[in-house]
Assembly symmetry: C2
Homo-oligomer: 406 residues x 2
């Protein structure tokens, strides 16, 4: 059946006696009978055999609606996150919004305040761009050292989609442009969500005007309910929380409104008791997703090392990988041309000889910024900053091939 | 509630008396109560309010497993097709393959034939790339003139994903490289699927070696069952059928095997009775997806015109749009830098004055090839070529705003 070739030659590159690979290609049951018809799945789902690849919560939350679920990075490939696995962080659960009733208002220091229906927004010029979203609390588990958690729970408040929507600047144009009033100049913009938390954040206009989008689609289709259906703000590179979901209101103002989510929350307490406020951009960061905790190296030999790198300040310029605890580094190969504020998949290879090893990755972005060590990050920020942890992450490979966050 | 602004000023850009937009922003029920908790959806789905956005079959097929379903292009945005909506074309249904039992063999004119498990393949170097897939039968409905069908049914055998897998050249390397035998030189490669159709296609090695991937993931997650789980061939730019799903075998041979799917099917009958065989690349093509048949222009004024363009021979260089039946053309804006053999979203705008109009788009690819008119295509190919229809597509806008394929 294999064209007369010697069956003993048909072996896998890493075959060994235990793996049972010294078998001919057999005709399996699924080749012997017709498969399932098409109309079983007008909207498709993953194979039930992949049912372990789901979002998970890091912990039990006291209020079910004020919680997060994390993207299973260890099982994903490439840079795009499929919509079903995009991470969630909600403050009052997922509202069920009727898009025909939903409205977006833009008001405050503009010439002509406007109310938009979804149909109105779809009649404005749009654009699509690939950008990551990262919760500012991502990887907070590692501030005090290795948490033991797998990469889904340490780094999974991170996803990347192709987003489609209308530029904020287009909406401002539709509202007749900015307009100072009684000495109040339009320097900030308040975004408000229609969820029960009425999530509100103030954003500096000069840093968001050239890049913010009001988006209604992700990866081709309308936003998922848990990602802001029918409308959200997207500020590429800014901490996730500022990308206000279920967006209902944009108000042009002259100063930040000091809302709850930018005073008691989403500020960064330093060692000396002062807090960094309005820290928006997520700094350059990377993590090895395979192998990562939970994976096991089964035999000695070649293993790919793959991971993700990203920066809220631009594109990824370089990723370096070390397999000796950071003593030596080799540049990784990047997929294609790294996109602006997009996840970038990196690849390198490694021949594992069976000895314990420590593997880590380090990102450099287009501004020249290099991802810091945990020690350097803690020296600068102290241990009270719950948010914006972006240190180099290491995984330990034990002699038995198990990979640990230790 | 709107900060004291005159409510009469809060109007939509296209507001009119009938649209009921002259209302203040109200606090809707979904803002008054907490939303759904997170753990309701470890793998997310679209809003039930988007339930019409599904794959559809163009017709009832006599055998349910030998059929196709089409991507709802009129309702999608950007370039990425979400996995749940990627088009399908099966010849014997969707097999339920156990990835732990699945094997890929590479044999024939190679030095060391190899059998790979999925685990073996995941231990080889990989890469991710965004490419479209188009069935060679896409848009066959239009050979004889406007079919009256909407864009999902005329152009929906078309999708675009980020694919992850192993280069064919890497697999050949793992098999010790090519090896002539008794005067037989390795010039073609046969790909065979593990479905009940045992789909087999012969491909010219010199045209696929630098770009073919054996892929196990799409848009970040493992392949969907209907798209080849756990493994398929991807030959960017080649007609869909050659991207063999459920891939089990690659055989290096010296000449095409003249299988059923490259003799009685997937050949292109010309007017003089001769057939074009082994027509692989999908030529440059474009289509306006919004507005398109089924959409209705509700008021006079500005409308975006958006659509998709692609070429199996490279990247899209330019898309032009006409709103006067092809008498004059204007260049469209393209999202980002068009990718090699990837869908490219184009945008332009149009002020509709209420008169009947005919809108169309025309793609030019990086080789300089320009999408032909239907008349030119028919003059070259006749009317018997079921496959590879890529002519300029026009939609008619009637005075009542309805859009038709006429």
């Amino acid at each position: 059946m294999l064209g007369g070739l010697a069956l003993s030659a048909v072996v896998a590159p890493h075959a060994n006696a235990a793996s049972g690979l010294l078998q001919p290609l057999s005709v399996e049951p699924w080749t012997r009978m017709p498969g399932a018809p098409i109309l079983d799945h007008p909207y498709g789902l993953p194979s039930p055999r992949e049912s372990v690849v789901v979002r998970r919560a890091a912990r039990a939350w006291p209020v079910p609606g004020a919680a997060s679920s994390l993207t299973p990075l260890a099982d994903l490939h490439g840079a795009i996150t499929p919509n079903g696995l995009v991470y969630e962080r909600h403050h009052a659960g997922v509202p069920d919004i009727d898009p025909d009733q939903h409205r977006l208002v833009i008001h405050g220091l503009v010439r002509e305040p406007k109310l938009f229906t979804m149909e109105d927004l779809l009649r404005l010029p749009s654009e699509s761009r690939v950008h990551f979203l990262e919760c500012s609390g991502n990887t907070a588990s590692e501030w005090k050292g290795p948490s033991g958690l797998p990469v889904q729970l340490t780094h999974g408040l991170l996803s990347c989609c192709e987003w489609t929507g209308v530029r904020l600047s287009t909406l401002l144009e539709a509202a007749g442009g900015l307009a100072a009033n009684n000495g109040h100049a339009p320097r900030w913009i308040l975004a408000e969500g229609a969820d029960a938390a009425a999530m509100t954040r103030s954003l500096p206009l000069d840093r968001v005007l050239d890049r913010a989008l009001v988006v209604y689609a992700q990866n081709g289709e309308r936003l998922r309910p848990e990602n802001g259906y029918p409308l959200r703000l997207l500020v590429p590179g800014f901490e996730g929380n500022t990308n206000v979901k279920w967006l209902r209101r944009l108000k042009l103002v002259d100063a930040p409104l000091e809302t709850r989510e930018e005073t008691s929350k989403y500020t960064n307490l330093l060692a000396d008791g002062r807090a960094r406020q309005f820290v928006f951009e997520m700094d350059a960061k990377s993590v090895i997703t395979r192998p990562s905790p939970g994976h096991k190296l089964t035999t000695h030999g070649y293993y790919p090392i793959v991971g993700l790198a990203w920066s809220g300040r631009g594109a990824i310029r370089q990723v370096e990988v070390s397999v000796d605890g950071g003593r030596s580094w080799q540049p990784a190969r990047l997929d294609g041309t790294p996109g602006d504020r997009a996840l970038t998949r990196f690849h390198t290879g490694w021949v594992w000889n069976g000895e314990p090893a420590t593997i880590l990755s380090r990102a450099t972005d287009s501004t020249g910024y290099i991802q810091p060590t945990r020690e350097a990050l803690v020296a600068a920020r102290g241990l009270n900053s719950n948010y914006h942890y972006n240190a180099i992450q290491q995984w330990r490979v034990d002699a038995d091939g198990s990979v640990k966050n230790a």
